[in-house]
């Protein structure tokens, strides 16, 4: 490879630094976005797994009892019976003075042994103090750094049971040298002695669970020895449901990252191809003076390789930075829904790195390959005219369209068959999207031809439209990228909007009381907190309520694994308000069935996940042991993605003295009663009770729920912005390239008398045409994607059905956004073209 050859080729970097830099920037941004989304995705999973491990440790099984826990004497009995590999746990959330939620894990440090990483590496000195001094607690190692607290400081923790002062122990200060905390591990777990945890969480004399490490042989023996009311449950079953949920959340992210990948690929392809095409006459001339075909090819590919490698390196760095932003968002969502998680560090997976290298370097090379090969092959510069290339591109359109139709058909078939679950649904969706996008260039060409025909006699607009059509290989990919980004935005607003509407509607239906009395507890702990059941009558009297309902959520074992059971004593005629999807007979009969026989209702996601239908039977553990319940109906509910079983109080407590505590009271006031007066009286009464409780109204609950909902989808919006940004750069690059290529034409027009303002207008007009086309094409694609997300993907992943809502306002917004982006992207080229020096441009070779 001769030096002058390399020189001749690379000179362009000095002549047109802006265009060449754009190529590099394209690779950087594409790589960064794809990597960042993957990192965020992966760190969410890691944080989740870690939380599971921290809490569950290496136990193979857990002994669980009723929701309120069970007597700790059971644990003593087990130890006495010779079961050594057991560890008692009391756990629950609490709140720091600064409002952050932590997770308190009460362990018996002496029994922990093999179970938990966080707890087992406590040094001897702290263990001594934990066990002997009540009220001592070990914050996670990472917490100290920015907490501004010191060893031995006292701190107030707030929990469902009240407020308590604790003494903070720093492991390091206690001489705990041996411990090696893995980065981020235990970031949210506050470990304390079981006695302290019982006090803190209001569980005196009770345990939440006993962790057990067992082999299969010992399993049956232990199961037989367990007293009534206790269950031996494999650990996997316990977190299965939560895992599924995290899975669904990841799918959302993965869908977005795949879209980002697609758009990024467009961006790189577009700029790299242009980088070579732009200099095809250099290639042709070099060929004429005798440069070897292979040498030419080599020098072009060398440049593409350099751009790819440098761009990928910078992109990886930028991506890791960007990931930090995304990860913060993800952690927030996970905390709202699953656990208190803290994500501190993210490192790219080898596979993800490979993928972005393939994208950045591989695609750069691939994109340069075709034009380089062509240029090196052809001997005469005249045969390399842009027109010829474009004619070939236009002939390629037909092949592209055929491929598109095949993909569309394949996608339709895959979705139609519905086999293969979520992965197949995603494959189907992406086949459809790719098919649609491949069809776009043909449609764009036709649309431009149509516009040109319309504009007969309007010479200037016709020039604009026709030159777009002639540069189809440039304008089509950029338009496709913009279409894709806008469609993604539309589909997200369809999906999230429909979801939000349905949830709102459901909340309105589900909250049938006028006033609620609930325990004071951090949001994450609310389902476990209880109020005295006997309050019911007093509350009704004070508020002059027509009727009182109660409801309590709890996890309980069943023959389909751990399930969430919602035990209710509803208002009269409650079934009229419940959005029943499937049930037999009139509601009066159903109500009677639920009251008098062992029957339950299940939510839509529950039915989907466990594949149960009306008439099926479930064995569920209730207060006095396991019984078989018939599924009497399915209703719509968005309260929990893994699904809920609804049971009436009298069935749950049948044959027992009844409930001691309930999760919440709902009071229905008489028609025309003043809720504010009732609330005031209730609050006065509650202030004198020992158990902390508060009064809320449906509106408050709705507001809080919707706030959490919106935070969950905040990340989707963020990703939407990022995809739009990438698409913006794609369209900017394309318009820039397009106009540079047409510099000679613009100079000619200027010499004929077109004013600088006219040039600006022409360039902006072209941007508007492309933006308008992308926006229009994005509407059907976006609505279709949204429909598939709702009807296929969401049903598959969550089991949730929802009513399709067409957010025309947001669709309109997105369309304007697309056109706006294109106009904005044409601003710089317009300005440059209008200010261009005419003579050099006129002297350019045609």
């Amino acid at each position: 490879m001769s030096r002058s050859l390399v020189h001749a080729w690379l000179r362009d970097w000095r002549r047109r630094p802006l265009q060449r830099l754009l190529t590099l920037v394209a690779v950087v941004i594409a790589v960064a976005v794809v990597l960042a989304v993957d990192l965020a995705n992966q760190s969410a999973q890691q944080a989740f797994d870690r939380s599971m491990d921290e809490v569950a440790g290496t136990a193979t099984h857990q002994i669980l009892g009723p929701a309120g826990g069970f007597a700790e004497t059971h644990y003593r009995d087990l130890r006495l019976a010779g079961w050594r590999a057991t560890a008692p746990i009391v756990e629950g959330p609490a709140r720091l003075p600064d409002g952050r939620t932590i997770y308190v894990l009460g362990v018996d440090p002496l029994a922990e042994g093999a179970f938990r990483g966080v707890a087992s590496d406590i040094g001897d000195a702290p263990v001594q103090r934990l066990v002997t001094e009540p009220g001592t607690i070990l914050p996670p190692r990472g917490w100290w750094a920015d907490a501004g607290r010191e060893h031995e400081d006292r701190l107030i923790l707030e929990s469902a049971a009240g407020r308590f002062a604790v003494t903070l122990l720093d492991r390091a200060a206690e001489g705990d040298e041996a411990a090696t905390d893995v980065d981020g591990e235990g970031a949210s777990l506050w470990v304390t002695d079981i006695a302290t945890a019982q006090t803190l969480l209001g569980r005196q004399g009770r345990l939440d669970r006993i962790d057990v490490s067992l082999d299969d042989a010992a399993l049956e023996t232990l199961a037989e020895q367990l007293p009534d009311g206790l269950e031996l449950v494999p650990v996997a079953a316990r977190d299965q449901a939560s895992r599924e949920l995290a899975q669904a959340f990841r799918i959302n992210l993965t869908a977005m990252s795949l879209l980002a990948l697609l758009i990024a690929a467009f961006l790189i392809y577009n700029t790299q191809t242009f980088a070579v095409l732009r200099r095809r006459e250099v290639l042709a001339s070099l060929r004429l003076v005798g440069a070897g075909r292979r040498a030419l090819f080599g020098v072009v590919m060398l440049e593409a390789l350099l751009v790819g490698v440098i761009g990928t390196l910078l992109g990886v760095l930028l991506g890791i930075g960007l990931a930090q932003v995304l990860v913060g968002q993800v952690a927030q969502t996970m905390t709202d829904h699953f656990f208190v998680v803290a994500v501190t560090e993210v490192a790219p997976r080898p596979l993800a790195l490979l993928a972005v290298i393939a994208l950045g370097v591989g695609l750069s090379l691939l994109a340069a390959l075709a034009p380089a090969w062509e240029a090196a092959r052809v001997a005469s510069p005249g045969r390399l005219g842009r027109g010829r290339l474009e004619r070939r591109a236009r002939r390629g359109l037909l092949g592209l369209a055929v491929a598109a139709l095949v993909l569309l058909a394949a996608g339709g078939v895959v979705l139609r068959l519905g086999a293969g679950g979520l992965v197949a649904s995603f494959v189907g969706l992406f086949l459809l999207i790719t098919g649609f996008v491949l069809l776009l260039p043909l449609v764009l060409a036709a649309a431009l031809r149509g516009l040109a025909r319309l504009g007969r006699g309007q010479t200037l607009p016709r020039i604009g439209v026709r030159s777009l059509e002639r540069s189809l290989s440039r304008s089509a990919p950029a338009t496709s990228a913009l279409t894709l980004a806008l469609a993604a935005a539309i589909s997200v607003s369809v999906m999230v909007g429909s979801f939000r509407d349905s949830v709102e509607q459901w909340l309105g239906q589900a909250l049938t009381s006028d006033v609620y009395v609930v325990p004071v507890a951090p949001a994450a702990a609310r389902s476990g907190a209880r109020l005295p059941a006997e309050w019911g009558q007093a509350l009704a009297r004070i508020a002059a309520a027509e009727s009182v309902s109660t409801g309590s959520s709890q996890d309980t074992p069943s023959d389909v694994g751990m399930i969430e059971l919602y035990v209710v004593a509803p208002h009269p005629a409650w079934l009229d308000d419940l959005p029943l999807l499937r049930a037999e007979g009139p509601t009066e009969a159903l109500d009677r069935r639920l009251r008098e026989r062992d029957a339950v209702l299940v939510t839509e996601p529950f039915a989907a996940h466990h594949d149960v239908a009306v008439g099926d039977r479930l064995e569920i553990r209730v207060e006095d042991g396991r019984r078989v319940f018939e599924v009497a109906g399915v209703y719509r509910d968005y309260g929990s993605p893994q699904g809920t079983v609804l049971m009436l109080t009298q069935r749950f407590y049948a044959g027992t003295p009844g409930a001691e505590g309930v999760g919440s009271f709902g009071l229905r006031l008489p028609e025309g009663a003043d809720a504010d007066v009732a609330i005031e009286r209730l609050e006065a009464w509650l202030a004198e009770r020992e158990t902390a409780a508060m009064v809320t109204r449906p509106g408050d609950i709705e507001q809080e729920s919707m706030a959490i909902f919106d935070r969950t989808f905040a990340i989707t919006h963020l990703l939407r912005v990022i995809t739009l940004l990438v698409a913006f750069i794609a369209i900017f690059g394309a318009l820039m390239a397009l106009q540079m290529e047409r510099a000679r034409e613009f100079a000619t027009l200027r010499s004929l008398g077109l004013l600088p303002g006219g040039v600006r207008g022409l360039v902006v007009f072209q941007g508007a045409v492309l933006g308008g086309f992308a926006a229009l094409a994005a509407i059907p694609l976006g609505l279709g994607m949204g429909w598939i997300l709702i009807e296929v993907i969401n049903r598959e992943a969550f089991g949730w059905g929802m009513d399709l809502r067409l957010p025309w306002g947001e669709v309109g917004e997105t369309v304007l956004l697309g056109i706006g982006a294109a106009l904005l992207a044409s601003a710089i080229p317009a300005w440059r073209m209008a200010r261009m020096r005419l003579v050099p441009a006129l002297r350019e070779q045609p």
Binding site: R462, R470, R750, P756, V839
Partner: protein, 235 residues
Amino acid sequence: MVQRGSGVVLSLAGLGFGYPGEGRVLQGVDLDLAAGERVAIVGESGSGKSTLLHLAAGLEPADAGTVRLAGQALAGLDEAARTRLRRVQVGIVFQSFHLIPTLTALENVMLPLELATDLGAAQRRERARAQLAAVGLGAKEGREPEQLSGGEQQRVAIARALVHRPALILADEPTGNLDSRTGEAVFALLLEQVRATGCALLLVTHSDALAARLDRVLRMQDGQLQDLAARASAR
């Protein structure tokens, strides 16, 4: 023959130009072109002939001296005003045609009418058709430049330069990209059309034979214009 108003169409006085870091290309060029006058410029390659035409058309500002187009000094005008003056007063014929590739022959000819006049669409079409017929291309008005031969393209360019009846035609080697027979025909057509419309012509050529067929021949040398006829008579 159309009679144009008398007076000076183009007046260059003390015109100078140089590229940054290079020597002077033009140095004190003086030239007055009367209405309807046809002048040829000859000279070595690289002597600055094209540069002179660019300055005269106001495509690039001179760095010394003045250019007056139809009595208007260019120096005081901004880009837009210069463009407005140019599109009414000047028609340009380039060596490499410079037709707009995305427009048909007819649309190319209609372009100056759209930019420089306020004629309606129908009138523009009619005038452009007539002009295209005048250069013998009436039958090919719907063709795109790519579908025309080099000579045909240059005839379209001539029609485009003349259609709005400018006072001055600037032509930079209009036959330079054509073989000698075609070049001869195009040149004859250009002269005939210029005569028919009565506009002035400033033409750059390498061919002394072609140059001799105009009213006056000037040689570009050392950045200045010398009147060949005047020198001949002095000898």
